[in-house]
């Protein structure tokens, strides 16, 4: 059984011309230190290409 905690479920595929974006909603103290992530175990099918997020500069929403 795949480990689901701290994961994101998405609908996707190689032909999908879209991506997920991430943005701040308000000023933030910054990304917290995170524990080593659990690596989800592939269940069926192949890998799907992914890109990583980058650190974001704290920014007010208005």
């Amino acid at each position: 059984m795949p480990r689901l905690n701290r994961t994101v479920l998405v609908s996707g595929g190689l032909a999908l011309a879209a991506f997920l974006a991430i943005g701040f909603t308000l000023a933030s103290p910054g990304r917290r230190a995170a524990p080593a992530p659990p690596r989800p175990e592939p269940v069926a099918g192949g890998d799907v290409a992914a890109s990583g997020t980058q650190d974001l500069a704290p920014t007010r929403a208005d």
Partner: protein, 260 residues
């Protein structure tokens, strides 16, 4: 449907056997909305468990649009387009249907149009009511959704047990409640048909709202909160870095749901 690590989206991630257009997941229960094969378009919701095993299937009356599950996994909400899918929520005329499910069985609990709606202390009802975009609070009995009537959209707050909705505010679409239940991210109509929306965030304690500085484009999605200060949403390909501090999180993906 695929899954990715929150902390390390670069890591290889799993791919499930479920094919879904829209996804919801909470407390070990999931909803997968999809179109089934065949000559005629048919749509269904497949409920699944934490091992992605399909369970009950619910026939849908139209094209899938939004779905959410209450944080405790008790209720699910599904919005479909009955008409007007081609131009979506930007269309001048469309019809939606939003149903609540008991997630343990897949039983339909109610349609939001069966709830009694109140505005300014008086009953509010019209033949052109359309509800969409449910988001649930932690208590699973409180929900928020969009209501359209007479060319206006409203944020409604709901009490599932009492089958009651109350108009809280105008010009709110696709609300999404933050994990701490303090804020609602939503689409606000600010422009014409070519770029109608801008993401905003509403503070529920003060009922003050602010545009989401990170994203200036008009995007039609129900935001998913990454945590209490970040949001995730699907977007078409294009530079996100030019207009603000938003960054691409994951390629070739839509309908994100954070497993908390």
């Amino acid at each position: 449907m695929s899954l990715a690590s929150i902390e390390d989206p670069d890591a290889p991630f799993g791919v499930t056997n479920l094919e879904c257009d829209r996804i919801a997941y909470a407390a070990g229960r999931g909803i997968c909305l999809r179109e089934t094969g065949g000559l005629l378009s048919r749509f269904e919701a497949v409920l699944f468990d934490s091992a992605f095993r399909p369970g009950a299937t619910v026939k849908l009356d139209g094209n899938p649009s939004r779905t959410r599950i209450s944080p405790d996994g008790r209720f699910g909400a599904i919005t479909v387009f009955l008409t007007g899918q081609a131009h979506g929520y930007a269309s001048a005329s469309f019809s939606t249907k939003t149903t609540l499910l008991e997630m343990s069985s897949g039983t339909v609990v109610s349609d939001l149009e069966q709830f009694q709606t109140w505005r300014d202390g008086e009953k509010f009802s019209a033949a052109d009511f359309n509800f969409w975009g449910v988001t649930f609070a932690r208590d699973s009995n409180t929900l928020y959704a969009s209501l359209w009537s007479a060319k206006k959209t409203y944020l409604v707050g709901g009490d599932v047990a009492a089958r009651k909705l109350t108009v809280l505010r105008e010009n709110v679409e696709c609300p999404s409640l933050s994990p701490d239940n303090r804020r609602i991210a939503f689409k606000k109509r600010v422009g014409g048909d070519l770029a109608p929306w801008r993401f905003y965030v509403l503070d529920l304690a003060t009922m003050t709202e602010h545009p989401l500085a990170a994203e200036a484009r008009s995007i039609d999605d129900q935001i998913e909160w990454f945590d209490d200060s970040h949001v995730l949403y699907g977007a078409s390909r294009g530079p996100v870095d030019a207009g603000g501090p938003a960054r691409a999180f994951l390629l070739q993906a839509t309908s994100p749901i954070v497993v908390r």
